[in-house]
């Protein structure tokens, strides 16, 4: 037997159970392509009316920025939806089988509880972003081709401006790296969701939200400080600022864009160069102590989830 076989099966198992992991990105991709059809129609009309005038003097740097803005920007909506999807997936992952008692079947197989819990974490951190990235790339290729065709039908050829394979592939690689960094940065959250999923008898969602909120409130009322809330919310905000934002200036038009939300990056303290995210700026996040503190806290939560799965799985 192939040594990897059980792990591959565990990964597939999660996708069998949670079809939304691939259906949601596929649906968003289809919607994107639908809008692109509509948009390319509009472009065609506009070009016919002579409203589109391509300035062939655009500098090489601006062309690259434009391509990157398109690639990162269209990933933004995918990513926002995916983050919510992973949240709900992780909350369900160690709870659903306790609720329908199928845990008795899963635990009658020769798989350790640690392997099982880690397969859920892997699905949230790697499989879900990978499926999303695949949907993003396919959508971007199709929408890009649609726009190019629409404009060429109107007699405007933008292919030489946008066809920069090196820039495009590098942007996708950067996106993939950003998703890995994002998963690691969010590990404390993911670990917390798993812990609640393994622990709660019901209303997992309420526990994941109410316990941190209660702790924040208690801190404020009893001690009068708000370290916990700044730590938690700060962690989320920094993620958007560090990995997901980029300020692009295309032909003098400012485009705030990122793979999460549009954030104006001009005053972003984490990006000294003020440009869009790059492999370098992402790698810089590993120099942040907060990254490692978060990973350590996340690891503690994950160990807790494994312990609960092994010793307190009865509902």
């Amino acid at each position: 037997m192939n040594a990897m076989q059980p792990y591959i099966a565990l990964g597939k198992r999660e996708i069998w159970e949670h079809k939304s992991l691939w259906i949601v990105p596929a649906v968003i991709g289809c919607l994107g392509i639908l809008f692109a059809f509509y948009g390319s129609g509009a472009l065609l009309v506009a070009a016919h009316q002579g409203m589109i005038n391509i300035n062939s003097d655009i500098s090489g740097v601006d062309r690259m920025e434009g391509v990157r803005a398109f690639i990162f920007g269209s990933a933004a909506f995918f990513n926002t939806v995916m983050l919510f999807m992973v949240w709900f997936y992780l909350m369900d992952s160690l709870h659903a089988d306790r609720k329908d008692r199928s845990i008795l079947f899963w635990r009658s197989l020769p798989l350790s509880d640690a392997t099982t819990v880690l397969s859920k974490l892997f699905t949230g951190m790697v499989t879900a972003p990978a499926l999303m990235l695949a949907a993003v790339i396919v959508t971007e290729i199709i929408t890009g081709i649609l726009f190019i065709i629409a404009l060429s039908l109107a007699g405007v050829n933008i292919l030489p401006l946008v066809f920069q394979p090196g820039t495009i592939v590098l942007a996708w690689i950067t996106l993939a790296f950003a998703l890995i960094v994002q998963s690691l940065w969010l590990l404390p959250f993911y670990g917390w969701f798993l812990l609640c999923s393994a622990w709660a008898r019901k209303l997992v969602l309420a526990w994941t939200v109410l316990i941190p909120l209660g702790a924040m409130l208690a801190e404020r009322l009893v001690i009068g400080t708000h370290y916990l809330s700044s730590a938690i919310f700060g962690h989320i905000v920094k993620m958007f600022m560090m990995t997901m934002s980029g300020h692009y200036s295309v032909n003098g038009v400012s485009v705030g864009s990122g793979i999460a939300v549009g954030v104006d990056n001009r005053h972003n303290p984490f990006l000294d160069h003020g440009g869009p995210m790059t492999l370098g700026s992402l790698a810089h996040m590993f120099a942040q102590p907060e990254m490692w503190i978060g990973i350590a806290i996340g690891a503690i939560f994950v160990f807790g989830a494994i312990w609960l799965r092994r010793n307190r799985s009865e509902i």
Binding site: M1, Q5, P6, I8, A9, L10, K12, R13, W16, E17, A96, D97, D100, R101, S102, L104, F105, R107, S108, L109, P110, L111, S112, D113, T115, R310, N311, S313, E314
Partner: protein, 285 residues
């Protein structure tokens, strides 16, 4: 024969409730053991402890492992069917086969397919689309295709109609049990497993009140239908239960010499159900 499961002082508490109270037993290889007891007697707790699904106090050795520490290793040689419908509803039959094949080194897919061919279960169906009886057939097909040493069944036929129940046990006996494998089964439907069992274990209030081979049970316990005139002499031999049937008295004796009993009337081996009622009434008194 080697001892497969060895329990010494096995105990489990749920708060102030003692689910198991210092239980000792051995289960040998090649036996079919019926673990019989009323609701809440501790049957399921024994099974869960054996399977490493719950913590416990005392000593328990299953195939040379401590189930608390080595569940994963143990499950390569132990199979388990909890009551029906623990297979998740979203799982497709074909995927169930693929999954077990990938994670279980002793699973034989052809064998499972062979069992499934006898049923009306399609590989494309989802568990949620199957009837209760078919889910049990599927689970049994998966389990019988695993070359395991110990099979644990916890109320495997509860809620099934009589056809599926009969079929379940006949499949188990004809296609699975080979004299070397060991089966540990709990059930309320005692009549159905009665002829299957080689050993009988009664559990009540967290204690074992009977633990014998079926042969020993047949020798030790006897039922006598006594005419009214001999009722008093029958009572003198300390029966463990007394019932009235068609104007005669039916007594159940434990460990009384056969010769003495034959003078009272015709001897029978008691059914497991009657024995169960008698032993448990005794325990209550």
């Amino acid at each position: 024969m080697s001892v497969l499961i060895k329990a010494r002082g096995l105990s489990k508490r749920y708060g102030s409730l003692r689910a198991l109270d210092k239980v000792d037993f051995d289960i040998e290889e090649g036996c079919i053991v019926g673990l019989i007891g009323p609701n809440g007697a501790g049957k399921t707790t024994v099974l869960k402890a054996v399977l490493g699904l719950t913590g416990f106090d005392g000593e328990l050795d299953v195939l040379g492992h401590d189930p608390r520490k080595a569940r994963e290793r143990l499950m390569q040689e132990v199979c388990f069917i909890a009551d029906v419908a623990v297979l998740p509803r979203w799982l497709k039959v074909g995927n169930a086969l693929s999954f077990v094949e990938a994670v279980h080194p002793r699973f034989n897919r052809e064998r499972a397919m062979h069992f499934l061919e006898r049923t009306r279960i399609s590989q494309k169906s989802k568990v949620g689309q199957l009837s209760k009886g078919m889910v049990t057939q599927l689970h049994l097909a998966l389990i019988m295709a695993i070359d395991a040493k110990l099979l644990v069944l916890d109320e495997p036929t509860i809620g099934l109609d009589i056809l599926y129940r009969k079929e379940f046990y006949s499949n188990l006996l004809n296609d699975y049990f080979d004299g070397k494998r060991t089966i540990l089964v709990t059930t309320h439907q005692v009549e159905e497993v009665e002829k299957l069992l080689t050993h009988l274990m009664f559990i009540d209030n967290g204690r074992i009140v009977l633990n014998d081979s079926m042969e020993a049970v047949g020798e030790k316990y006897a039922e006598v239908l006594v005419n009214p005139d001999k009722t008093e002499s029958a009572r003198g031999l300390n029966p463990i239960s007394e019932r009235e049937i068609f104007g005669k008295k039916l007594f159940l004796f434990e460990g009384v010499e056969r010769g003495k009993l034959q003078q009272l009337g015709e001897l029978h081996t008691p059914s497991v159900a009657d024995l169960f009622v008698a032993k448990l009434k005794g325990a209550v008194q």
